[in-house]
């Protein structure tokens, strides 16, 4: 057991970002969509209340930033949960059933590993409309492979334990055993991999947003804001630097927390890196 301390600052910063993303748009006098022709391109000041200034349409940058953060987090959590659901179901079935079922399910996973994942998400979002629900289902549906592998490995190990045999002898059906005894024992490691999936999905969503396939205007996400900012790089670098910094901070904190949790709870990772 590695007793590496949890990265306290990262956790605190992460919570701060989440709380700000929820609270700021709520209490701010501005919204994310109404353009204001008298307030185009204001520099950041405390005097007029635009703490990060306004964008090229006169919308408050801080409010838009926090809305973008909300959307990015929402998509990330929803997509991670989707991938978790498929991955756990797939992995637990393969690991518990064993034999031919296991071989076929895991061979499918091996084949899917060779599928170029980003291009498929792009095709899905282009062809089937650009709404947010579809976006996270699409990301989730193609990113469950790692979870399935890990869950299968853990299930195989659990299957050998006495309490599972006891449950079998006691006359429980396979489905009951998986639900009542296997899944609760997987909860720890699954939670760890959930925290590691979230930053990956945030980056994928931002990438799609960057290509114009994510949230549609006037709604925004961090990736969309980065794309907009990059287009106006020369005249308004602020519009790129603010969302870029926020995205980097968010992913950095998620990664640090996830790494620390994995070092603590995952017996397979020696806690080296």
């Amino acid at each position: 057991m590695n007793s590496a301390p949890l990265p306290r600052w990262s956790l605190l910063l992460l919570l701060t970002i989440v709380v700000l993303a929820v609270v700021v748009p709520w209490i701010s006098p501005w919204n994310y969509y109404t353009p204001s022709w008298d307030e185009l391109d204001l520099e950041p000041t405390f005097a007029n209340g635009h703490w990060l200034g306004t964008d090229d349409l006169g919308r408050d940058l801080l409010v838009r930033l926090m809305w973008g953060c909300r959307i990015s987090l929402l998509v990330a959590v929803a997509a991670s949960l989707t991938s978790l659901f498929i991955g756990v179901l797939w992995g637990a079935t393969a690991g518990y059933a064993g034999g031919r079922v296991d071989a076929w399910l895991m061979r499918t996973v091996d084949v899917l590993y060779a599928v170029p994942f980003i291009p498929f998400v792009i095709v899905l979002t282009v062809l089937f409309g650009r709404n947010i629900v579809l976006l996270f289902v699409a990301i989730g549906a193609v990113s469950w492979l790692d979870t399935a592998r890990i869950v299968r490995g853990q299930t195989l190990a659990l299957r050998q334990r006495e309490f599972i045999t006891a449950a079998r002898v006691g006359g429980m059906s396979a489905a009951q055993i998986v639900r009542r005894h296997v899944l609760p024992n997987l909860a720890g490691i699954v939670a760890v991999y959930l925290t590691l999936t979230i930053p990956t999905v945030i980056l994928v969503e931002a990438f799609l947003g960057y290509l114009g396939l994510g949230a549609q205007a006037p709604l925004t996400s961090l990736g969309v804001m980065i794309a907009d900012g990059a287009a106006q790089l020369r005249s308004r670098p602020r519009l790129l630097i603010c969302p870029a910094l926020l995205l980097a901070l968010l992913v950095l904190c998620c990664n640090r927390v996830g790494d620390a949790l994995r070092d603590r709870f995952d017996p397979a990772s020696g806690g080296g890196a």
């Binding site: 084949v111 291009p119 095709v123 290509l211 790089l233 790129l240 870029a244 640090r256 020696g270």
Partner: protein, 306 residues
């Protein structure tokens, strides 16, 4: 070794078949067709166009026809670019992606390997912390963020390098895309190597080699680094995938005419054959990269040999 490679290539066939079928099914299940536009076509013209691209045939026939073409290495005509075939577009774009991708991978190894070794040897010192911080930063900041920031610094403010454009592959134009693309891989490689080298340094054979008085340099190069490189080689397969798909973002930022651009444009314009062709090409590259990684692993470690 040859039979091992042969067997792996045989396994690759069903994999590629799955990719082709998935891509085909997705594109045909999508609402709307490639020639739906705002202006309504005269029915006869529409029928003529559909006959030219065999869109009037039943879907299973189209599938078999396409499959037959792919087997012969022909991805069909592009729907969007009337005069070019998908093969032409790939032949035009792929060299650019390969140049940038391979250079980025080389640069990542060149920086990442020493960084990982230093971090492992000077464990828990300032050097280690600095290397780990750089690594974490590289993993958390995506290329489409670093690329515009690099442009802002080196092209807009300092005016040392061009902000974009392929420029016939001139070195000046290559620097920023390659650096931006390589940064995350510098990070992954450094992290991976630090972890695996730390494991190896605690093994009995390294202690034995030191105890019999072998110079530290030789121990490191001959006995420690070789096994420590194994996980890195395994990582290079998936990493190649990342370089290829990551170049979609890089091409957008720097305005490079690679296949990623054709792919994204194709997806937006419902250019089905281009989308399918590029997806299959990506799949082939992934399969080949993984195979190559396995072969190199087997060469480095006799235990991995079949």
């Amino acid at each position: 070794m040859l039979s091992f490679i042969g067997k792996r290539l045989l396994v690759a066939i069903p994999t590629l078949l799955v990719i082709i079928t998935l891509a085909f099914a997705l594109l045909h299940a999508a609402p709307g067709g490639p020639f739906d536009s705002d202006k309504v076509l005269v029915p006869e013209i529409r029928a003529a166009i559909e006959a030219r691209y065999h869109l009037d045939e039943p879907v299973p026939m189209q599938y078999l026809r396409y499959l037959g073409g792919v087997v012969r290495g022909d991805f069909g005509p592009s729907f969007q670019y009337q005069d070019s075939s998908v093969n032409d577009l790939i032949a035009q774009g792929l060299p650019i992606d390969l140049a940038i991708g391979l250079l980025a991978m080389g640069l990542a190894l060149l920086i990442g390997v020493p960084l990982g070794v230093v971090a492992a040897l000077r464990r828990n010192t300032v050097w280690d912390r600095a290397a780990s911080a750089i690594a974490l930063l590289g993993i958390s900041v995506p290329t489409y963020v670093t690329a515009p920031l690099l442009v802002l610094l080196f092209a807009v403010s300092l005016r040392w390098l061009p902000a974009g454009d392929w420029g016939e592959g001139a070195l000046r134009n290559l620097v920023l895309p390659v650096v931006a693309l390589s940064l995350p891989y510098v990070a992954y490689i450094a992290r991976l190597l630090r972890a695996s080298l730390l494991d190896v340094l605690h093994t009995p054979w390294v202690r034995t080699a030191r105890a019999k008085g072998m110079p530290w340099r030789t121990v490191l190069l001959r006995h420690a680094l070789r096994p420590a490189l194994l996980p890195l080689v395994a990582f290079l397969g998936p990493a190649t995938v990342g370089v290829i798909t990551g170049s979609i973002a890089i091409e957008t930022v720097f305005g490079l005419p690679g296949i990623g651009r054709f792919f994204v444009d194709g997806a937006f314009n419902r250019d089905y054959t281009v989308v399918m062709g590029v997806t299959i090409l990506y799949g082939v590259l992934i399969v080949l990269a993984n195979l190559l990684a396995d072969v190199v692993q087997a060469l480095l470690d006799p235990r991995m040999r079949p």
